[in-house]
């Protein structure tokens, strides 16, 4: 698993530097960006970790950066740093899926706690995404007939009924069933249902 990184986006060098120092002091990997543009420009196809975004910045504001992230479909957890009179803006961002906001001046270790939580959340989300991706890959391996048989198995039909419905021999159904279990990397119908049912 790749290391989770906290991205700090703030136009104030002192804030960047001090936050880097603080997060590192708790063992969090950090990467700083001096503007929203620089951060967005450097993002990989599947970024990991979390983002600490200052709302008030020269150039792109924190909210605009957040909008861009949403537009690109990245689900990185975002923590906003807000100043005086910007709380409403932050609340609005929260409703649209931001992870949290912290008002300046902040309680530093609380901020670090929130960052760690955010990183954890990202990991969980990432894990789920990967699981989903592997199920999809397994499903892709099935032949059309095997897919048909699997659907009926998931619908709870017995081998005899499936054979009648598909007008094939029961022995053939059993062979398909064995292939499906093998390709989907499961040992029972219950296990199959748990894996696939989430997608259906």
């Amino acid at each position: 698993m790749r290391a989770a990184i906290a991205h700090i986006v703030d136009d104030d060098a002192a804030i960047r530097d001090s936050l880097e120092w603080l997060l590192k002091s708790r063992g969090v990997a950090v990467r700083s960006w001096e503007s929203g543009e620089a951060f967005l420009g450097a993002l990989s196809a599947a970024p990991r970790g979390c983002v600490i975004l200052d709302v008030r910045m020269e150039g792109m504001s924190g909210i605009e950066v957040f909008d861009q992230l949403l537009a690109r479909g990245f689900r990185l957890p975002v923590i906003f740093l807000t100043g005086h009179g910007e709380v409403q803006m932050a609340v609005a961002a929260l409703k649209r899926g931001a992870f949290d906001f912290v008002e300046k001046p902040f309680n530093d270790n609380q901020l670090v706690d929130r960052v760690i939580e955010a990183l954890r959340r990202d990991e969980v989300v990432q894990h789920e995404l990967e699981a989903e991706a592997s199920v999809a890959a397994r499903l892709a391996r099935l032949s059309p007939r095997e897919r048909e048989v699997m659907d009926r198995i998931l619908a709870g039909e017995a081998n005899k009924a499936i054979a009648d419905a598909l007008d094939i021999a029961v022995r053939t159904v059993e062979a398909h069933r064995a292939h499906v279990f093998e390709k989907m990397e499961v040992h029972s119908a219950v296990e199959l249902a748990r894996l696939v049912g989430r997608r259906h």
């Binding site: 002192a14 001090s18 120092w21 002091s25 708790r26 300046k104 001046p105 902040f106």
Partner: protein, 661 residues
């Protein structure tokens, strides 16, 4: 009174126009015509009467002439007979001559007496003696008359005959002696001579008296009047004796009285004509006057309606300042009726008592100047005591002779205008105040953000250091770097604070001379809108001498507004009818004190102790800066601000300031 303008009673009466009725014009004409006719009728009647009288007089006179002729002739006949009977016949002619000489003067018209003997032969005559070859027969063709006389024995007259230059006639008087015709005495008369003697002069003055024969031929005449044209009247009587169809004729001619009459009549007619003409002239004049009057009335009505519809008040005063004219707008403005105002001298009812001297002085000054149309702003009073601001333009009132009779003034109620101006000004000030607040808010926000950056950084560094120390195994070099950065950030924060200080120092108060009452009134007017919504009554009790200070009026207002708002906040729990703020300005020596009293919850001792500390507040949304700012402003102005218990409950905030020395 020498009223320079039409007084209103006249004006109100002017509405009904005078109608000219035709009969008003025809009646005098008809009267004049009838008068003339009557006069002429009277003259005619008089003339008729005169003519009748004349006629009667003429008849009387002519009868009298005829009678006297008859008497004269009759008497002559007797005397002639006597002459004959006395036996003069046959006696000597001399005796006859004497007798005739006596007879002639008394017998008018008798020219000659001839004696005839019994055979009818003339024997003697007188006064002309008979010629020896025999006397002429008295009268021509008169033997028949002689014979008739001798036969009848009575006197017989012959027909007149022309002899020599005049008509003559004879009378034959036979006489008898002892019953036997003894002879005849003949008298020869001249008609002219007879008329000349018998017609009196006064008759001849007026009339032409003639004797004519039956054919109308003129035989004799007597007249002193010229026969001009036709006679006015004629009359004739039969003249008998001598008979033979002789007529005594009288012609009366119009005398000068007739001329007078004609001229009188003519005069009357001419006068009547003149009368009619002048009547016509008068009528034309009156008609012209009526037309002019009509125009004048229309003009007057137009002006009146214009005056009435005017919003500008108009009033005219005479030289002594007594009102001689006001228009309805003026009456509306001051609330008095026209009759109450007219004739009223200064001071006027609509002058506020406290402004009287000022108004008199201003008016006197403006009028002494003499120039017209000068603009004066006065404070006047309505009947109900309400004061209002009026703009007065006074100009001299000049009558038709060019003499000044007083002053005409137009008044404009500018209270509304002034109020509107005031409102606009207040709006602007409110806007400015809001803008100031917005700016202050933004500045505060900017400062907060600026300060947040280094403060956040410091906190982060320090927390990081603590984390590192706690974890142990930290290298001093690492920590040192972090702490140095912390120090840098602390310096950064210090710089920001210094910048703010510098900024604040730049906005030093602008001190000008201000009247404390004006500042208070302005602040109260600002606060009033808020006070209304919070149902708070604000009462001002201002120092009458309105002290002047050297201060920044905006800052003073800021202080007052703060205190007023605090007062309103303090009374949030007070019953609505008791919510009253009282603002008092007082002067004691060289110090001015302004107090704002509320009837609110009051202050606890511990609150009172921290009242002016920054960020101390008892309000959930308060910043705790208001009273602190007030104290700062007062310190800048060398004054101070304090709070104490209001004797009637609540709190009294006061501030005092030194006056301008």
């Amino acid at each position: 009174m020498n009223s320079p303008l039409p007084s209103s009673p006249l004006a109100s009466r002017a509405a009904r126009p005078i109608e000219t009725r035709d009969w008003q014009w025809y009646a005098p004409r008809a009267a004049v015509g009838l008068f003339v006719v009557a006069l002429i009728g009277l003259l005619w009647v008089l003339h008729r009467q005169e003519v009748e009288e004349n006629r009667a007089a003429v008849i009387r006179d002519i009868l009298w002439v005829e009678q006297s002729m008859r008497f004269s002739l009759d008497r002559d006949v007797e005397q002639l007979r006597q002459l004959g009977e006395e036996g003069l016949a046959g006696r000597d002619a001399a005796h006859l001559e004497v007798a005739v000489k006596h007879l002639l003067p008394n017998s008018p018209g008798l020219l000659e007496v001839v004696l005839l003997d019994e055979r009818g032969v003339p024997t003697a005559s007188a006064p002309v003696p008979m010629r020896p070859n025999g006397g002429a027969w008295p009268g021509l063709d008169s033997e028949s008359d002689y014979r008739l006389a001798t036969v009848t024995g009575k006197a017989v007259y012959s027909a007149p005959t022309r002899s020599m230059e005049e008509e003559q006639f004879a009378v034959f008087v036979p006489y008898y002696r002892r019953g036997v015709l003894a002879g005849t005495v003949a008298g020869v008369y001249g008609l002219n001579a007879m008329l000349a003697n018998l017609v009196p002069w006064w008759l001849a003055e007026k009339h032409r008296v003639t004797i004519r024969d039956s054919a109308g031929n003129l035989l004799a005449a007597k007249s002193n009047v010229e026969a001009r044209g036709a006679p006015e009247l004629t009359h004739q009587v039969v003249l008998d004796p001598p008979g033979h169809g002789l007529l005594l004729h009288v012609e009366s001619y119009g005398s000068e009285s007739r001329l007078l009459r004609y001229s009188l009549t003519a005069t009357i007619v001419v006068l009547a004509c003149i009368l009619l003409w002048s009547l016509r002239q008068v009528r034309r004049h009156v008609q012209r006057r009526l037309v002019t009057e009509q125009e004048l009335r229309a003009e007057h009505a137009f002006r009146k309606s214009m005056e009435d519809s005017l919003d500008t008040g108009m009033r005219a005063v005479d030289m002594k300042g007594a009102i001689v004219y006001v228009n309805p707008a003026f009456c509306r403005m001051v609330g008095y009726t026209e009759s109450e105002l007219i004739g009223h001298g200064p001071p006027q009812e609509y002058w506020p008592p406290e402004e009287r001297e000022h108004i008199e002085e201003v008016l006197r000054a403006a009028r002494a100047d003499g120039s017209s149309g000068k603009e004066i702003e006065l404070k006047l009073m309505r009947r109900d005591g309400e004061r209002f601001d009026a703009l007065v333009y006074d100009s001299p009132l000049i009558d038709a002779d060019g003499r000044q009779t007083g002053w005409m003034g137009s008044l404009l109620d500018i209270t509304e205008r002034k109020r509107a101006r005031e409102r606009v000004r207040q709006q602007e000030q409110k806007l400015a105040a809001t803008a100031r607040l917005v700016t202050m808010g933004e500045m505060a926000s900017a400062i907060a953000h600026e300060l947040n950056q280094p403060l956040s950084a410091i906190a982060s560094y320090v927390t990081g250091c603590l984390n590192v120390l706690q974890a142990g195994g930290a290298s001093p070099a690492e920590l040192r770097s972090a702490l140095e950065k912390t120090a840098q950030q602390a310096q950064r924060a210090g710089r920001i604070i210094r910048r703010v200080h510098e900024f604040v120092r730049k906005s030093e108060p602008v001190r000008t001379g201000v009247h404390i009452n004006a500042v208070v009134q302005e602040a109260v007017s600002f606060a009033e809108a808020e006070a209304r919504t919070r149902r708070v009554k604000i009462q001002s009790q201002l120092s009458p001498d309105d002290p002047e200070l050297k201060a920044d009026p905006l800052l003073l207002q800021e202080v007052l507004l703060n205190l007023l708002r605090n007062g309103m906040d303090a009374m949030a729990a007070t019953p609505a009818e008791e919510r009253e703020l009282k603002v008092i300005t007082e002067r004691a020596g060289q110090t001015v004190t302004v107090t704002v009293r509320d009837r609110g919850c009051g202050l606890s001792p511990e609150v009172q102790a921290q009242l002016f500390d920054p960020f101390f507040t008892t309000k959930p949304e308060g910043m705790g800066m208001g009273l602190h700012i007030c104290r700062s402003i007062m310190e800048v102005h060398r004054g101070r601000v304090w709070a104490e218990q209001n004797p009637g409950g609540g709190t009294a905030f006061s501030f005092c300031l030194p006056m301008i020395s």
